[in-house]
Amino acid sequence: MRIVHNLSKDKLASLSLIIAVAIILVGICAPVFAPHDPNEVNMKLRYAGPSWEYLLGNDHLGRSVLSRLIYGIRPSMLWVLVALGISVGIGSVAGFIAGYFKGKADTVIMRLCDVMLSFPGYVMTLAVVGILGAGLTNIMIAFVVMKWAWFARVIRTSVMQYSEMDYVKFAQACGISHFKIITKHIIPVTLSDIAVIASGSMCSMILQISGLSFLGLGIQAPNAEWGMMLNEARGVMFTRPELMLAPGLAIVIVVSAFNFLADGLQVALDPQLRTSSKKLRTNEVEKSTYEYAGG
């Protein structure tokens, strides 16, 4: 509750949250919001400009751009969210085990992460797509395989820091079970870190999936996806630039919303209760996010 309260004070972050939630809702209820069937071809309306019936005009096959945009939310955002959830889940379990129990488990998991992280992200994704073939599911698999290691890394750092706290030592000394200690003392404090890194990497994942679809490796035609819509509009880039505008803007808005949300969350979740050591680590997390986005 305190988090919501803090976040509501930050106008930009609350606006971003509203936009993100609204887009997700529209995506889930796409058939309700979309005025037309996104795959309905109508050659008479080829490259038609905006009209009352087709608010954003029609593409090279006369399909409604607005409807395609709305249906495009599903692969561009919802499936990315699912992939993100799965990789954060795997990463959290691995990170908690490594950071809390340390010792051999930590060594094994971290070496495994090192191996995963030593491959450049895009190359690995391309390799997985090359092996399994193009398509949304395969890209999702590639994402999960690639990202969990990175989440495990960051979450481990966070868990390790908190499991050094004296209140955790006290709980251990009293004979309280590890499970209880993790759920009561460690998850609540690391949750904020997990939320921040998850919303931050959401952006890079959206961009990547659009990028891969743009290259024709992602979702297959005729299904709608923002990156693919950009690709389809590429041919008429100079004669009808407005066709690139809609999916382009959609990507920019969603990515910015999640970026601002990540920033806002970071501030909202950082109460005065935290010690200065916490700041140090947040910087580290930020730095790795940056490096990651750069690579």
Binding site: Y167, A171, A173, G175
Partner: protein
């Protein structure tokens, strides 16, 4: 009651593949009787806190055992309700998201299920450590150092354990508060008949509260003396400690 036998502990130094190990504790054995206060005193870095962690069963010794009433403390259930601790750093001793009440109740609820008399129990404990029951709903950052340390003591005695390890429990407090807390600890010891393992580098505090003092140096026991006979310690290191105290 609490029996430490031949404990050895070393930590890896250097990188992942480094073979070198730094010996922190070398073959420590001692015993702490029921109702006794055993002081462990030594220089910074001599391995006192490490010993404390091993006694509490948080870490595993390389060799040797720590037994409480004949059972190894590495088993969680042996510690549950029988062993407790107070640490030096009161700022990180209480979960920042917990209220004082929740913090004090944590070890009690781990031990049993009933909740009926919990509130009155917390009130009683707070009274015993000299805090007003209105502190119950406060969070850690709203407490002063002395108050936080009192809450930690209340939390430590809440299950009426047989033994409490106090690692520099008063060292970070103001001198006047130190005396109050030491007095409190002494009273509580009589009340509950607990034994203390009092880890400190402050000879005066140790002399005040302890029955027996172990002089600790470089991971080894240099000497064990009765607190009353502190004046006639033999080992050069202990003499040095004592002299520096007197000149000061």
């Amino acid at each position: 009651m609490l029996k430490v036998e031949g404990i050895v502990k070393s930590y890896k130094t250097g990188g992942f593949f480094a073979k070198e190990r730094q010996n922190i504790l070398r073959n420590i054995s001692f015993e702490c009787g029921s109702g006794e206060c055993l002081g462990i005193i030594g220089e910074s870095g001599s391995g006192k806190s490490t010993l404390g962690r091993l006694v509490l069963g948080i870490e595993k010794p390389d060799r040797g055992t720590v037994r409480l009433n004949g059972e190894n403390v590495l088993h969680r259930t042996v510690r549950l309700g029988h062993l407790s601790a107070v640490f030096q750093d009161y700022t990180s001793s209480i979960n920042p998201y917990f209220t004082v009440e929740e913090a004090i109740l944590e070890p009690i609820t781990a031990q049993r299920k009933s909740r009926a008399e919990d509130r009155s129990k917390v009130e009683l404990l707070l009274n015993q450590v000299g805090l007003n029951p209105s502190y119950m709903s406060k969070h850690a950052h709203e407490l002063s150092g002395g108050e936080a340390q009192r809450v930690c003591i209340a939390r430590a005695i809440s299950t009426e354990p047989e033994c409490i390890v106090l690692d520099e429990a008063v060292s970070s407090l103001d001198v006047s508060v130190q005396i109050q807390v030491l007095k409190l600890l002494k009273e509580l010891k009589e009340l509950y008949n607990m034994s203390y393992i009092f880890i400190t580098h402050d000879l005066q505090a140790a002399a005040y509260i302890c029955d027996r003092i172990i002089i600790f140096r470089d991971g080894q026991i240099e000497e064990t003396v009765e607190a009353q006979r502190l004046k006639d310690v033999q080992s050069p290191y202990a003499r040095k400690l004592l002299n520096s105290l007197i000149t000061f």
